[in-house]
Amino acid sequence: MQLKKLESLLYRLITAPSGVAGAIAAERELDAGGLDAIVLGDDRLSAEARLDIYADMYFYRLLDVLKEDFPATLRVLGDDNFHNLVTGYLLEYPPTEPSVFYCGRHLSAFLRGHRLRDGAPFLADLAALERASVEVFHGPDAAALEPDSLRAIAPADWPGLELRIHPSAQILALDWQVSELLRAVEERRPWNPAQPGAVKVLVWRCNARVFYRDLEKTEADALGAASRGATFAQICDLVAARADNRDPVATINRLLARWLSDGLLARTSRPCDLARG
């Protein structure tokens, strides 16, 4: 059999959700000799049993990767449901990238339309938060901004200042408040189902550790504006425009102090921003 045809056939047999035996029965590319005409079997292992070894390794390797990347989704679903979820997921989103790092990137989207969500409607958001944690962990590097750099900025330069959010950071807009559930799983505590409610969750990295927290609306808006390149003056205007904000200066100070201590602000060399200061 031609090499290309052989590899395509073996790929189909190994990844078939029905198992190798079922896939062999349904396979049109196999001639009368069946799999035995292609793969050598012997008294210890038939050709089918040999292919089964690869089928098991394919599935269980990826299952292990997804279990590691989605511990809270696994905990909520339990082993059997998670196994079934991954079976369907790999069928719809088979890995296409050289690294297993990417294999879970569509799990949240897959969960949005999955029947398992009926009993736990927050699952897709939970998986989105877990996936973001993985992506942030491996996201781009940038040196954190030191508080001294801000102190050195002349007052006249502050309005035009552009704050740079660490490039690995993500802000997720979710419909379920899943942060506490994930934290409970990470801390090996009993978990409660997440409550409904729109929330923005900041996921960021500091000193090679990933953190996440729910954002209040003012902070979410300010961070969102900063990440879109807004100047400091524009961010201040945005904070001041909040009807319930009686002390915008104190709010800005509090936010800046927190972003600095969180390592959320990155150094930059762009001429219009901190380097000029």
Binding site: M1, Q2, L3, K4, L6, E7, S8, L10, Y11, I14, T15, A37, I38, V39, L40, D42, R44, L45, A47, A49, R50, L51, I53, Y54, M57, Y58, R61, L62, P94, P95, T96, E97, P98, S99, V100, F101, C103, F137, H138, G139, P140, D141, A142, S168, R205, A208
Partner: protein, 305 residues
Amino acid sequence: MKRSDFPMLGYGVGLRRQHYSHVLETRPKVDWFEVISENFMVAGGRAPEVLEGVRANYPIVMHGVSMSIGSTDPLSRSYLRQLRDLARRFEPAWISDHLCWTGAGGRNLHDLLPIPYTEEAIRQVVARIRQVQDTLERPILIENVSSYMAFADSTMTEWEFISAVAAEADCGILLDINNIFVSAFNHRFDADEYVDAMPAERVVQYHLAGHSDHGTYLLDTHDHPVRDEVWALYERAARRFGAVSALVEWDDNIPEFTQLAQTADRARTIFATTVQTAEQDSLKNRDDDATEKTGKPALSADHRA
């Protein structure tokens, strides 16, 4: 390409996440580290930071699992670019991957599947290795994989196939001793014959690892200590090939780092003993020859020195 084009790195271990802190903080006594290339093909974060720290103190080798050199899909240019960039940044002593295919039709199995040993496959694989070597601007090493299936279409043995590929592509061989043992059991071939048939000048590196016994087959799980039979095969290879860089792989049930380092040291000791024994045997043979010819014992090695 010949082995002397590459440095003899000594006895190393595979760098795994569980040991990052230990390696960075204690700088353990081990000659070199091998890293899985794909684990460091990320934008940033801890992995590349750790590798910077490790590279500052040790030689490294980049070992890939997804080049899919035996696939009929086009080689991924983006993958090769990332690999080349990684190599430029971390300057590995060499780059290796497996003589296998890992996917078809643009999809990845994340597993190492064997190729039928045919002339068609040799042509296909050789052309791809040359393309990879051109992109990376260096010869690569190809590794024999553990396998659980063999093909009716194969027209030659695995060792004939890998020797032919290495010769025609002018690349090196990463000889995985455990994989030879595992495949020899699974396909009932003679592991010694395999080692004896390898082109010595192309064997640049060994892998040593553990496997699990499933009764009807052996599985290359890298989750056990190296078995005695694999050590015996390593000893045979050491006798035949001389000084070759050796690397201990452990990917599951990963023990304390000290156990990995001790395993690397065992490889070092076995090689030293093997060479010593071989030298003594060689001297004895010469002495026997001399005795036969002159009727008198030859001078001992010490006297000659």
